[in-house]
Amino acid sequence: MSYIAIFITYVFINNFILSQFLGLCPFIGVSKNSESAIGMGMAVTFVMGLASVLTYLVYHFLLVPLNLAFLQTLTFILLIAGLVQFVELVIQKNSPALYQALGIFLPLITTNCAVLGIAILNINENYNLMESFLAGISGGLGFTLALILMSNIRERLDLHPVRKVFKGVPIAFISGGLMALAFMAFDKSLLTNLLG
């Protein structure tokens, strides 16, 4: 049951972009078309899932026994940076088109606060290994959901007569704000209603 709760929590209730406002840079930057939005979302999901597991292992089997828990932020950033570099190498080799579409935002996952956010949240919430992994994947899927919704909205906005001052990023910000308002409807009561 707690697995379903974690999934719903990180996809809808605590959606990283629309409720916690973490990782907003790619939310505006890569949401111009849905193809690169899906690619970016998948890359972030992958990194978040892997980072959750890796940071969990390092924290519980290295930092805690040595009484070095205060090093968690530094260690996590180091791990995430290394991981992202690795993902970048793999994508560049296997999918040059996706690599070009993601452009500068791929290295920017390194400093994407959503990834660091999930790693620290996992520790704070005292999740076990499986729960951490699931939280990472769910967080990434929530991120992807927000990105896909946004990219579809922006693709439609391109065809609509928008006033010149609002064209492009300004109207995207307004749409993003409205989406965040809509996501406020998901709260803890959703969980109690669903799972009793």
């Binding site: 070095l68 690795f86 190498l89 609509h160």
Partner: protein
């Protein structure tokens, strides 16, 4: 003691990650084409597609493999083609003549009759799908400015009368506007051309006279009275043959009854 551990942990972690990355970089290495990278730096980077390849990087890799002829880059001009030729070690053949886009229409809602009023999305292709646009003339500019949207250098604008106009100095000759225009009213003319025919209608003279005040009626005055103007009339529409001497073009413009031979460039 604790501080030593902290130092060691971070150092060892960093070292391990570094080694893993070095290994991965070796394993997932992408072969890079050095010539293509050099050429990419020289190309203008507008990614306009004038060469027919997907962006500057596509053209650069095709050039380095000698699959594409040099000199297709119209924004870069002769300078770029010369530099590319030195990198590839081939003879520079130049770019050919600089071409700029020109909107061959001066009609608008005051000068040209309308069959109906279009009230759909502001996109020329949308207007064209509905009876080829609202104007009675089906060859002219639709005035919704899809070309303004696609122009990578903002060379196309609306003048004070609302007519869509290309600024020849800003045009890089990428032909994106000619591709997006549903009526093909935008055509390329040589940048040196002083005059152009501001009409694209193949309708008969009587019909053009009826629906538009500034259309070419195909009267052939320019062709017959001014043989050295370069004008050729075919299918009720004058065109300028820019390869011919155009000494009499100014006189022909003066004599044109609907004044549709206009100055394209001062």
């Amino acid at each position: 003691m604790n501080i030593l551990f902290a130092f060691l942990i971070i150092a060892v972690l960093g070292l391990l990650l570094g080694l893993a990355l070095a290994f991965a970089a070796e394993k997932f290495a992408v072969e890079k084409d050095e010539k293509a990278e050099q050429i990419l730096e020289i190309l203008p980077g507008a990614n306009c597609g004038a060469c027919g390849y997907p962006g500057c990087s596509g053209y650069a890799s095709a050039l380095s493999k000698r699959e594409a002829p040099n000199g297709l880059c119209s924004p870069g001009g002769p300078k770029t083609s010369a530099l590319v030729a030195t990198i590839l070690g081939i003879e520079d053949e130049g770019v050919g003549e600089r071409m700029v886009a020109y909107v061959h229409c001066r009609g608008n809602n005051e000068l040209t009759q309308r069959n109906f009023k279009y009230d759909g999305i502001e996109e020329c292709s949308g207007a064209y799908m509905l009876f080829k646009g609202e104007s009675s003339c089906k060859y002219g500019c639709l005035h919704l400015g899809s070309c303004i949207q696609v122009c990578p250098t903002d060379a196309i604008y609306r003048d004070e009368k609302g007519n869509v106009t290309v600024e020849p100095d800003k045009c890089i000759g990428c032909r994106k506007c000619t591709l997006v225009c549903p009526t093909n009213v935008i055509k390329m003319i040589p940048a040196r051309g002083s005059h152009a025919i501001a009409c694209n209608s193949f309708d008969s003279g009587a019909f053009v006279r009826k629906v538009c005040e500034v259309g070419c009626i195909g009267c052939k005055i320019c062709e017959r009275k001014f043989p050295d103007s370069g004008c050729v009339v075919e299918n009720f529409l004058a065109t300028i043959d820019y390869s011919r001497p155009m000494t009499q073009i100014a006189d022909a413009a003066e004599a044109c009854p609907t004044k549709c031979i206009v100055v394209a460039r001062q």
